[in-house]
C-alpha cells in the first residue's frame, strides 16, 4: 500500500458542481485519486454516484469546478476530451455492446480506429483480453448470442483493449442474474490486483470489502464519508452512512 500512497495523483476533482435544470446532482464534489488506487463508491439511488463517474470521461458535463485526469484539464476542448477518453475506460450497467458487430469486432473497433493499430495487432490484443476474461471461444459470435455475464465480460475486454490507465465501472453487476455476478466480479478483482486505477459504483459490498483501497459514501450529490473498507464497514462515523449500511446489510 505504501507504493500507492506515494503514487502521483491521477484524478483530481475540485469543487465539481453539476445541475440538471434546477436539480443539483453534484454539490461541490472534491476527490483526489492516486494512480493504482481502487475506489468503490456507494450510496442510495439518486445520490449522484453515476453522475460523478460519468463526469470523469465527459459523458456528463460539469458546470463548475475543475477535473484534471492524468494531467489533462477536462474542458470544452475536444482534443482534451478525446485524449482523456483514450486513457479512461468505462464499463456500463447495460453493457452497451455494439449489437451489429461480432465480439471480436467490438473489442478491436476502438484500437483500430482510435489508436490506429493494424488489424492484426488489434486482433492479437483483443484475443489476449478475451482470454483474460475467459471467453476466447465466443470471439466470432454476436453479443445477442451471449449470456448477460459473458456480455459484461466482453464489455470489460473491449474497455481493456484500449489499454486505459483508469477504469470506471458504473454498476457493472446490477443488470445481471445472481449466478453471473460472480464471473464478472472475479474479472474485476483480477484487474484490481493488476494495478489499474479503478473507480467503481457498485452495490457489491463483498467486492468493496475485499479489494477497495477506499470506500466513498455519497448522498445527495456530496461525499458523506470516505474511509478504508475495514473502518468504513466496522465503524461508520455518520448517521446517514449507518442508516444506509443497516438497510443494505440487514435484509
Amino acid at each position: 500500500m505504501t507504493t500507492k500512497a506515494d503514487a502521483q495523483d491521477i484524478i483530481i476533482c475540485h469543487d465539481v458542481h453539476k445541475w440538471y435544470g434546477d436539480f443539483q446532482a453534484l454539490k461541490g464534489f472534491s476527490l483526489t485519486v492516486k494512480a493504482g488506487e481502487v475506489i468503490v463508491i456507494i450510496g442510495p439511488s439518486g445520490s449522484g454516484k453515476s453522475t460523478f463517474i460519468r463526469t470523469i470521461n465527459r459523458l456528463e458535463e460539469h458546470q463548475q469546478g475543475e477535473i484534471i485526469v492524468d494531467g489533462i484539464l477536462l474542458s470544452h476542448d475536444v482534443r482534451n476530451i478525446a485524449e482523456i477518453r483514450r486513457e479512461v475506460g468505462m464499463v456500463f450497467q447495460q453493457f452497451n455492446l455494439f449489437p451489429h458487430l461480432t465480439v471480436l469486432e467490438n473489442v478491436t473497433l476502438a484500437p483500430i480506429h482510435v489508436r490506429k493499430w493494424s488489424r492484426e495487432r488489434a486482433e492479437e490484443t483483443a484475443m489476449k483480453w478475451l482470454n483474460r476474461v475467459g471467453i476466447p471461444e465466443q470471439a466470432n459470435k454476436y453479443p445477442g448470442q451471449l449470456s448477460g455475464g459473458q456480455q459484461q465480460r466482453v464489455a470489460i475486454a473491449r474497455t481493456l483493449a484500449m489499454e486505459p490507465k483508469i477504469l470506471l465501472f458504473d454498476e457493472p453487476t446490477s443488470a445481471l442474474d445472481p449466478e453471473m455476478i460472480k464471473e464478472v466480479l472475479d474479472v474485476m478483482r483480477d484487474l484490481a490486483q493488476a494495478g489499474y486505477t479503478i473507480l467503481a459504483v457498485t452495490h457489491e459490498m463483498g467486492f468493496a470489502r475485499e479489494v477497495a483501497d477506499r470506500v466513498i459514501f455519497m448522498a445527495s450529490g456530496e461525499i458523506v464519508e470516505q474511509n478504508t473498507p475495514q473502518n468504513f464497514f466496522a465503524n461508520p462515523k455518520e448517521d446517514r452512512t449507518r442508516q444506509f449500511l443497516s438497510q443494505i446489510l440487514h435484509h
Partner: protein, 753 residues
Amino acid sequence: MNERSSPLNLLRSVDWNRFVAEHITKSGLLTVWLVLLTAFTVNFIVGRLAAAPLTTFIVLIIWTVTVSLTVLSEVRHKHSPLTWWLRNNLYNSITNILITVVLVLGILSVIFGLYRYAWETASFSRIPDTERRADSPQQIGDEFCFNVGGINAAVSRTDIVNGEQQCFLLTSQSTDVNPDIIGREPVRVCFDELPDDPENGESCFENRTDDPEFFVVTNQFEGANWGGVAANMTTMMVFRYNRDELWRVYASLVLVVILLIPSQFVYRDSFPDKRLRHLVTVLWFLSPILIFILLRGVRPPPFPTDSASSVVRGLLAELFTWEATRLGNNLVNTLLFIGGAVLAVWLNQRVYQHIEVSKQTSLGWQILRLTTDFLMVVVVVLALRRFVLMLLPLFRANFNLLALVLFILFALGWWLWNRRFPYVEGESGWSATVRTVLRVGFIIFGVMLAYTVVTLLGYVLGSLSRTVDGVSRPLLGYVDPSVNWGGFLLTIIITVFALVVSFPLGLVLALGRRSQIHGIPAWLTYGVALIIMAWGLITLTPDGLAAARNSTERILAYWPIAVPILAYFFQRSFNGNVVAAFSTLYIEFIRGIPLIAVLFLTITLFPILLPPGVEILNTWRVLWGFALFSAAYLAENVRGGLQAIPKGQYEAADSLGLNTFDKYRLIILPQAIRIVIPALVGQFIGLFKDTTLVAIVGLLDILGVANAISAQPQWLGVRREAYLFLAALYFVGSAIMVAYSRRLEQRMGLGER
C-alpha cells in the same frame, strides 16, 4: 361406444342453443349481416353459375365437401391437420364459410376474366387494322396462298374468287410469323383447309375499291389489343432517344448487370478476396459517372479528330496554349501577400497554443479563435490567388501547365517537409505553419490539376469515333437529355438519381436536425436582431410608409419589427443552433409542400435565381427537384432510426474515444439504417411511382408515352392495354426493390439482439 359415434348422437351432442347464439343471434347486427351475406352469396353463386357453370360448380363441390368434413370433425372433436387448418383459417364461423366461397369465386372470375381479356381473345399483331392487307391470293391445288402485310389469316375459296367481303377464321396464333418482318415486307401464308365455321370467324377481308387485288383484313377480337403496346415498346422504354445511339442504353444496362452479378457474392462475409470487393465497390462508385457519359455523351473537342495523331496534336495544343501576356503583377505586392498568409497561419497557431486550457471555454476565446481561423483562411486564399496570378504570365496564361507544375512543387515540398520534420502531436511554430501552408497548396493545386485532367479526358472521349454506313461519327456524341431522355429510361434515371443523391443528403439533414452543438448565444442573436430592426425602422420604414397606398401596406412597412420576433423563436426552438434550425426548416418546408409544387418551383422559379445567361436544362432541374424533395422525407425516416438507438450506444462509443464521425459511421448509422430499411424502401418505391409527375412539367416519362399511344391514329383508344402494361412494369420494378430490401434486412439482421 358404437352408439356414441353414430351421426345422430354426434349431432345430438352438439349444444345447438349455444351454436345459434354464438353464430347468429349474438347481436341484432350479426343477424342482419348474416341474412344480407347469405342473400348476397346466393345471388353471386347464381350469377357465376350462369357465367361460368363448370368452374363454379367445381368450386361449389369442393367447398361443400370441405365444409362438411370440417363440421364433422368439429362435432366429433377430432380434427385431421387439413380440417384443423380449414377450421382455423376459412370455416371458423358461418359468416366466414359464406365469405370463403364468395372470395374464391370472385378471385377465379378475376383470373379467368383477365386471362380471357389479356390472352385468349387478345390480338398481338403490331400492324394496325387499317394496315393489314391481303395481297395477290392464288390457289395452288387445294391450298390458298396470299401475301399479307404482317398477319396470317385463313381464307375460303369462294371469297377470294368472288372478291366479296366475308369473315374468316382467325388463325393468327396457328402460324408463326417472324415479328421483325411484320409491317415491313409481305408475308406469304398458305392454308390447306377451309374454315369450318365462317360465321364465327374473327377476321375479315375487305375488298379495297381502288385495287381489287388488295383485301383489307379487319381483325375482330373482344380482348386486349396488345399491338399498340408492342409496336411502341421501344418508344415507351427510351422515348426519343436517338435510335442510332441505342447501344449506349444497352451498354449502361450491361454495365449494371455486370456489376450486379459479382455483388451477389463479393459482399458476403465468407468471401476471401478483399481486393475484388474493393474493385467492385470502386466500380459501383464510378458507374454513375460512366452511365452519365454513356447516356449524355461528351461534347466534341475543339480540335480536329480525323486521326489519332491529330487528336494527340490537339490535346498537346490544348495543354500548351500560349498567350502573349505581360508580367502585369507587382512581385513585391505578391510577396507581401504571401508573407501575410504565412504570418496569419503562424498567428493562428500561436493563439491555439498560448491560451490557457482552462480559459478555452470562455466566449471571448471562442470568438478570438473563430476570428483568427476566418482571417487565416481569407488571407491564405487571397495569397494563393495572388501567387497564381503572379505566375500565370510566366506560363503565358497556360492554366493547365501552371496547375501541374504547382501541384508537383507543393506535393514534393510537403513530402520533403514531412520527411525532414516528421509530424509530432501538438507541434507548434514554423514547422506546423509550413506544413499547413504546403498542405493547403497541395490540396488546392490538386483540385486545379484534377480539373485539367478531367477536361482533357473529356476531349479524349469526345475524339473517339465510329463509322456507320461509311460516315464517321463521334462514338460518344452529345445527346441532348431534354430531348432524348424519356420513357422508362427517364423514370429509371430520376429514381436512381434521386435515390443516390438524397441518401447522403438525407443522412446529413437527419444528423443536422439532431445536432447538439453550442449555438449562437442569446445576447448575440437578440443584439443583431435589434440592430437590424433599428436599422430597418430608421432607413426603410419611412420610405415604405411614404409609398404605401393602403393600410395593409402601411402595416407591412413596419416589417423590421418581425426580426426580433423571429430571433426569439430561433432562440426558443433551437437555442441558437444554426445547423438544427436549417435542417428542421428545410425538412418541414419541403414536407409542407407537395411534390408537384416542388417541380413547378424548379421549372418556373429557379431560373429567376440564376444569373442572366446561365441556363440549366429542365431535366437537371427536375432531377434535383426529386432528389431534394426525397431527401427531406429520407431525413425524417433516418431520424426515426437514430432515435431508436439506445443512448448507451452513443455513450459506449464516446467512452471508447471514438470521434463523432467514426461514432456515427461505425456505430450509430449502421444500426439506425438497418432499422429504417423498410421505411426507406417504402419511400423509394413511392419515389419510383411519383416519377410519373414529371409529365406536368413537360417531360415525357413512360406514362406520358403510354398516353401518347392512344392518340396515334392507328391505335386510337388503345389505352387500357398500355395502362395494364405500365401497371405490370411498375409492379415488377417495385417487387424487385422489395425483394432486395428483404435480402438486405436478412443480411444486416445477423447480429439481432
